[in-house]
Symmetry: C2
Subunit: 475 residues, 2 copies
């Protein structure tokens, strides 16, 4: 077994940007910032152009640079300005680059240069606590982190980020529901290193509270009551914000489990899970058949939806559909969602079986509920789907009746055909798309999707495997 320190050293060598890469990326950033400053001056707009994010904090990973350039405006600049003229200015300053407009709380501009993503984001220059927009905190975050990191700790942040990426828990976006870069920095600062952060996490409990700046010293229970989350990391620059609010319970637990495993049996596999041997589609189909479960996919076209909205709708809908299937007697083993975030969304369900026996036991009212009993008996006795009974067991009436929906795919098709499934809890924006088009696929049909959707096959394979790549048999 490799020593933990050796693993970290090896990883660091791979993820720390070289001087050359550093110069290239920082040069690109400087070029755009200069250009932005020039355009702002030309247009007579007063705004402070600043480098933020992991590049400013020197905690970015080699090959994965994101250039975050913020333009900080005085609080008297109207919001409409940010939505309109600001974007024009940013576009002019980056003329010649590919542009994408993104919407968070307010719009920002994303462009690509040499495969490097550049975000140009507006914010207000306000004092802490007087936030006018969500991005106003960022300069303070940068400041806090920079003043608490030395060279060694920057490497430790990189290790933690790469570790979380490797286990699939990095990123505050809804798709991931994991740990943001800023949260990685806070954890590294709080625990004093990467290994120390893992040791800390391995002791976490539901309701763990980390309060670096001591905002709630002596009032920890109050903080827990205020945030009501399984993991609370109080933002040092904003006592009212949980920097870990994005972390879903399963991702918190995944991190804890992986941390424990890494501390006991360190290895590169946590950081570089590596792609599995790709399978042919027909081999894949055969595997699915041998497996013996039923895979069902709901395919929806979601072009134009912002990713965080898309994933929010997808997860909400998945929960509703899982509930529907369960209520109808299907045993759902697992459920997940995949999307290219451009056009296609696949809700994926694995069931013990997609068909159920034709008869089901209907639990009627207790015999004491006289009026319910009357209605129940009248209904059952005239129901052509009655198979046996009604009969009494214990103090209750029961009946055996024909199962309404013995096939999961038919159940789903029918419920989704009715106004996009709104009645069964499909999230509204998704229901709208479903009204336009959807398909329910089963087994080999799902595997066929791999041919037309790049990236879906690897996802499906990982889903079917289930086991995290870092979890391997001992010895």
């Amino acid at each position: 077994m490799p020593r933990l320190e050796d693993v970290c050293r090896q990883v660091l060598a791979l993820i720390t940007p070289s001087e050359e890469e550093r110069e290239h990326v920082l040069g690109l950033a400087k070029q755009i910032m200069d250009s932005l400053r020039a355009v702002l001056e030309e247009e007579g707009v007063d705004g402070e152009v600043r480098l933020e994010g992991s590049l400013a904090k020197d905690t970015w990973l080699s090959g994965e640079a994101d250039v975050d350039i913020f333009v900080r405006f005085k609080p008297d600049i109207p919001r409409d300005f940010l939505k309109g003229r600001f974007l024009q200015i940013a576009r002019r300053a980056t003329a010649g680059l590919r542009h994408v407009e993104r919407f968070a709380e307010h719009p920002y501009l994303e462009c690509l240069a040499d495969g490097i993503r550049i975000n140009i984001v507006p914010c207000y220059a306000v004092r802490p606590g007087e936030w006018l927009s969500a991005t106003d905190r960022t300069p303070y975050h940068t400041q806090f982190v920079l003043s608490h990191l030395n060279e060694r700790l920057k490497g430790e942040v990189r290790l933690l980020k790469k570790f979380l990426k490797g286990i699939g828990a990095y990123g505050a976006e809804i798709r991931v529901g994991g740990f943001s870069g800023y949260l990685c920095e806070l954890l590294t600062i709080y625990y004093g290193g990467f290994k120390e952060a893992l040791e800390g996490a391995s002791r976490w409990r539901k309701g763990t509270l980390i309060d670096i700046a001591g905002h709630y010293e002596g009032r920890e229970d109050e903080a827990r009551e205020f945030f009501r989350h399984h993991l609370v990391v109080v933002d040092p620059v904003d006592p009212a914000r949980n920097a870990a609010a994005s972390v879903r319970l399963d991702k918190m637990c995944l991190f804890i489990a992986a941390a424990r495993e890494f501390l006991e049996r360190p290895g590169l596999r946590f950081f570089f899970p590596g792609p599995e041997e790709p399978k042919g589609v027909s081999e894949f189909k055969h595997e699915l058949e041998v497996r013996g479960t039923s895979i069902i996919a709901i395919h929806v076209k979601t072009g134009g939806m912002v990713p965080d909205v898309l994933w929010g709708q997808a997860f909400r809908t998945l929960r509703a559909i899982r509930g529907l299937l369960k209520n109808e007697g299907f045993r759902v083993l697992r459920a997940t969602a995949w999307s290219d975030e451009e056009e296609h969304l696949i809700l994926l369900l694995e069931l013990e079986a997609s068909t159920l026996p034709p008869v089901v036991r209907h639990v009627g009212p207790p015999i004491w509920a006289v009026e319910h009993v009357k209605r129940f008996l009248r209904k059952q006795l005239s129901d052509p789907d009655l198979v046996s009974g009604p009969y009494i067991e214990g103090d209750r009436w029961f009946a055996l009746i024909k199962r309404r929906w013995p096939r999961a795919a038919e159940l789903l098709s029918s419920k989704l055909s009715d106004s996009g499934g709104r009645a069964i809890g499909v999230a509204p924006l998704l229901a709208k798309r479903i009204e336009e088009w959807f398909e329910v696929l089963e087994g080999p049909q799902v595997v066929e999707l791999c041919r037309s959707l790049p990236g879906f096959k690897a996802f499906l394979e990982a889903f079917l495997r289930g086991r995290p790549a870092w979890l391997v048999p001992e010895g």
Copy 2:
């Protein structure tokens, strides 16, 4: 719809013994009592020969006479005498009749004459409360009932008995778990009539207390606490005895439900359910196939077991087997038992399906339980039956594994082959028989049993129908 009074009049005409039948049965009783008295005198044994039971109380049903003859001994007669010499005396007094020895708390003699069952039962002449054996109360019961019944009420008792017989809730034996003849008499006396008793029952609740003699007046909650049963009818001749202790919850509820229905829509069907059209075995098989459920039978040879013991063991075992199947993922719709009370016992189960999908979700420990998790992961990762995972959902580890027992019949055969199923909760006396021989049958094989077991077919048909005969669609 017939009027309730007309129905009762019609039924009474059919169930009240004619003068001729009365003379015949009472003549037979007198003859045996005389003979008993003669033998007792010959042998120099001091014992009072008395007629007890429904014949003495004149509450018996035409065609169903049971002659209960008691011999009441002084308390100083030793118990051994009852077990040995008493039976010899009874046998001598009924020489020429077919004899069966029965065992309740102590042995008694049963014989048959002209198809009429005659029970010769010993008891002690003791004062109330000083009971030496369970049958000592009987003469007091007879006395209490006779002193509270007039001619009209005797007919009302007959109606109530026949009603309970018709709905399958008559009899204190474990097979039925219903209402004894004495309990019918008490209810008729308490409510003042048959219709009144049904009206009373239709208002019963769990924990209903009926205390005719007022033993617990003002202390009703104390009585409920003492008896702890869903139905308490305090025995007027013994405040420590619940005359309804034998009534199981489902039979109590069946009576309540039938009583309500009869009061709303009276009819002969409650008293005379009548046999359904008998079906051919092959027609029966086809019906079962169309039905779509799975019928499983466990066939055991139980020769020589006393019925109450047999049924106690059967019901206990049925609960255990139902639990086993449920734990393994099978959905049990219904379960019941049949026996000829001579040789064969059939435990009968109806399942949604007797085979289950090959993969099952295994719920592992929450990630917080560090040592459990270690063991779980080690076990799963080295398990050749692992299909997918382990993976985390919420704060728990899960794994998909090959189902150990996808076939119910195989599961049952295997578990019963292991020391008669003691480990899964088969009752010990039955486990002993199962160790000697058993078979697990499925679907058409169960129908085949109808050919060799008289009475089983009608039982199976009624079981499959499920619906009580008195429960018919309105109009």
